[in-house]
Symmetry: C2
Subunit: 474 residues, 2 copies
């Protein structure tokens, strides 16, 4: 059914059309047009277990004008264009389902303008979050969104990324002030001015944030920055019961505690991390916490949180404001994904990504754990619990790929349908890509028809990352 | 020119068509269809000095089904429909420029669902912010957005309202979790689930927030709530120099001080307030501040802010955590609008509403003051300076209406063009309505064409609040 729908969107262009396009692009881009299989396969792959279906060619763009010229050429020949940042997305966003051109913006790496007084920065889309924070080091400012991977900021805007500290700083939706976008007909628009708020016209910024390359190509990103907190402290606390861990978080949020990170790792995940990194954390449901504020503020927050966790069965609450220990702790958290892969070397990870209202989070995680147990597989759980978002990290091994995909796909389906029934969403931060398309109707109902109208309006010939996210078919 | 553009959008329906529509509506709505001149004029008026052009009739809706039936009937007869909440908008949003039906949702006042654990609430669009906070009183939660007037939450969503504490809590853009919207063809959509974050599809919520009734009619609003802070304190501090006041604010924001309100009132405004309310504040540029947090937190914030203001010439910093004194202080601030009118009884106010990057705020306000002086008029200034947003409150008197509109319109134009040249916006929080349409091209450039595409897609026959905000004409 899905393929049928896809075919309504766009026909795969003929090889002769593609050749005409490639010849035309070759003239403008010379050796910045890549056609080797290695380059094409590299550009089709992301962090997921989706098949890497290669594009017909790759163009390494250096300027907005480059992007315009590629998009206009693709539009002229009705050939797909798929923007590429660092290849760290997680839902098969980059596979060239209908062939076409991978438009690589990773060399658009200039940090164009830091406005310290206004606490904002404008960057090209290939700038990564680590590069940006490196650059900002001496300004006392930083960009907080941290999805784990050192993703490009254009890509993070495209998937509406978030990660470990969204509970305090919000997601890309909240932190993009403005975008420059190339539309499918080559028009270049700037979605907003740099003022902190505006009631002037439709919110184009938010329309393009999270649109996964299906409405246009992002060529500049203006982001909010934050002052580096005077003090940062981190804490770890473990719980016999997963419910106790989640209830502690709910209460802390209701208290209005401005925690910067609240990460849940279940017992299976803790065991995987211990094995992977040679650590000896308790094999229990564990919260990793971070507090930002003044010296006294982070101390009193940690004390309050320790009390609160105790009431819900939290044990061995240990906190530190020592930056080395803190880094060690967050390195362990960031190892979570690798530690899963290490459970079965050679695997890739199929992560679920539901997000539910926090009152339903315990139930949603516990039933997911039951699904995992029933299927007899090993799948650690890690969650941005302050947001109601968690990932079951299921493993797909090349040797048993078909069977793994079937079993894990079924669990994913169960978890998603349950999350939707709890007024949650099929994807909290990874995006729709290929994998979640089939759940959108269930999640959005009639609103999906409104999304399709938008897709049709901005991409009437269906060349912008086709087969991902929104299928314009009626 | 503007009228010409408007006429491209929609032709005024003939009286016989309107009569057919009214007869049809009469059958469904009986005495909930109002045609008296008084009712029609009341529904055309807002807080601005725009002419109150009455609609042909008013329907008092009670349910989403009522809204659907009115919108479908209007669509069938190609007659405009103009949603009405409390009539407190500020840019002539409600005038029936092409006649049509005022769709009054003020009786849709049910608070449908309070989810305390999830800290959210779903309300009908006629619920006002004060009604909501009254209702929440015992839950320990509150809804922070405060535009001054006791506006309806549907209306606040429609204009992307903010007000005095957006610097801490954000605007309606940040605080609407989900909307139910009736589209121009009668389709009912829910823009999002209740999860705190999602990467699932285009951000329809943000598309309809701030769309001023031009894309659909909002029939339900799901909002984020916040815990009532343990402690609240307020402070007043005055400055000889306006620049000193603004610089204090910039520095406080860069320090990451979580101030809840930072309001600037210039010397003219302070004098007006003293006269109006019999107070004796210093006639100087003044900051009104509010801090939310723990007992010790608000105390240390106030101390820090006092130091910081002193460095920039702040005098007589006085703070209080006494709730009565605090209420008195904010009552004075909320009297600002009335105190302006009292300067010339019988007047209405034409407020400018630009918002600029904060680094340009002093310059923008100071040149605006010069404009006011050059024109020889009296116009107090009040600003949400933490956001970079301020209002010059110019007075329009019925006896000298034409001349006042001309003089004030010119000042408004100068201020807006300067703000746009500073990378700011023509409207920080009031919306576009009628008055800002002519500045959108200058502010948005090519992006305006993208907004027009959206308008055309969602309102192909041009019946949704026509002549406001976005004119779909190409």
């Amino acid at each position: 059914m899905m393929l049928e729908e896809l075919q309504k969107t766009i026909d795969r262009p003929s090889q002769s059309t593609v050749n005409l396009l490639i010849n035309e692009l070759k003239k403008s881009f010379g050796n910045r047009l890549l056609t080797s299989l290695a380059a094409r396969e590299f550009h089709a792959r992301d962090f997921s277990s989706y098949e890497a279906i290669p594009p017909d060619a790759v163009v390494m763009a250096k300027t907005t004008a480059d992007v315009v010229s590629v998009v206009q050429a693709c539009s002229k020949y009705k050939v797909p264009v798929i923007p590429f940042g660092t290849g760290t997305s997680a839902e098969g966003h980059l596979a060239a389902l209908y062939g076409g051109i991978s438009l690589d913006v990773s060399e658009m790496k200039n940090i164009l303008e830091v406005n310290s007084e206004d606490m904002d920065v404008t960057v090209e889309p290939g700038v990564t979050r680590k590069q940006l924070n490196e650059h900002l080091r001496d300004t006392g400012l930083f960009f907080p969104i941290d999805p784990g991977a050192d993703a490009s900021l254009g890509g993070m805007a495209s998937t509406r990324a978030s990660g470990t500290n969204a509970v305090r700083y919000g997601t890309m939706k909240d932190n993009v002030l403005s975008l420059e976008v190339v539309l499918s007909d080559g028009r270049v628009i700037r979605t907003s001015r740099r003022a902190r708020k505006s009631s002037s016209g439709y919110d184009l910024t938010r329309l393009f944030v999270g649109s996964e390359g299906t409405l246009g190509v992002i060529t500049k990103v203006t982001l909010k920055l934050f002052g580096i907190p005077e003090a940062t402290s981190a804490a770890v606390v473990s719980f016999e019961s997963l419910g106790g861990a989640v209830d502690s978080v709910i209460e802390a949020i209701q208290w209005g505690m401005p925690m910067a990170r609240i990460e849940l790792l279940d017992d299976v995940q803790m065991s995987a991390i211990n094995n992977y990194a040679g650590l000896n954390y308790a094999i229990k449901n564990t919260l990793f916490l971070e507090f930002h504020g003044t010296e006294s503020g982070v101390k009193s927050q940690a004390e309050l949180m320790s009390e609160l966790c105790k009431e819900h069965g939290g044990e061995n609450f240990s906190w530190t404001s020592n930056s080395e220990e803190r880094d060690k702790l967050w390195a362990a958290r960031h190892d979570a994904a690798y530690s899963c892969i290490a459970l079965r070397p050679g695997c890739s990870v199929m992560p679920t990504d539901v997000c539910v209202p926090i009152s339903r989070l315990s139930e949603c995680i516990l039933t997911a754990k039951q699904d995992i147990e029933d299927a007899g597989i090993i799948a650690p759980i890690v969650g941005h619990v302050g947001d109601g978002n968690f990932h079951v990290q299921m493993l797909i091994h090349p040797d048993t790929r078909e069977e793994d995909l079937r079993v894990c796909g079924e669990i994913n389906k169960k978890i998603i349908e349950r999350a939707i029934s709890m007024d949650g969403t099929c994807t909290g931060e990874h995006g729709v890509g290929q994998g979640k398309i089939k759940y959108l109707s269930q999640e959005h109902g009639e609103a999906l028809s409104a999304m399709r109208m938008i897709k049709k309006t901005f991409d009437p010939i269906g060349i912008m990352n086709p087969g991902k996210m929104i299928i314009a078919a009626d």
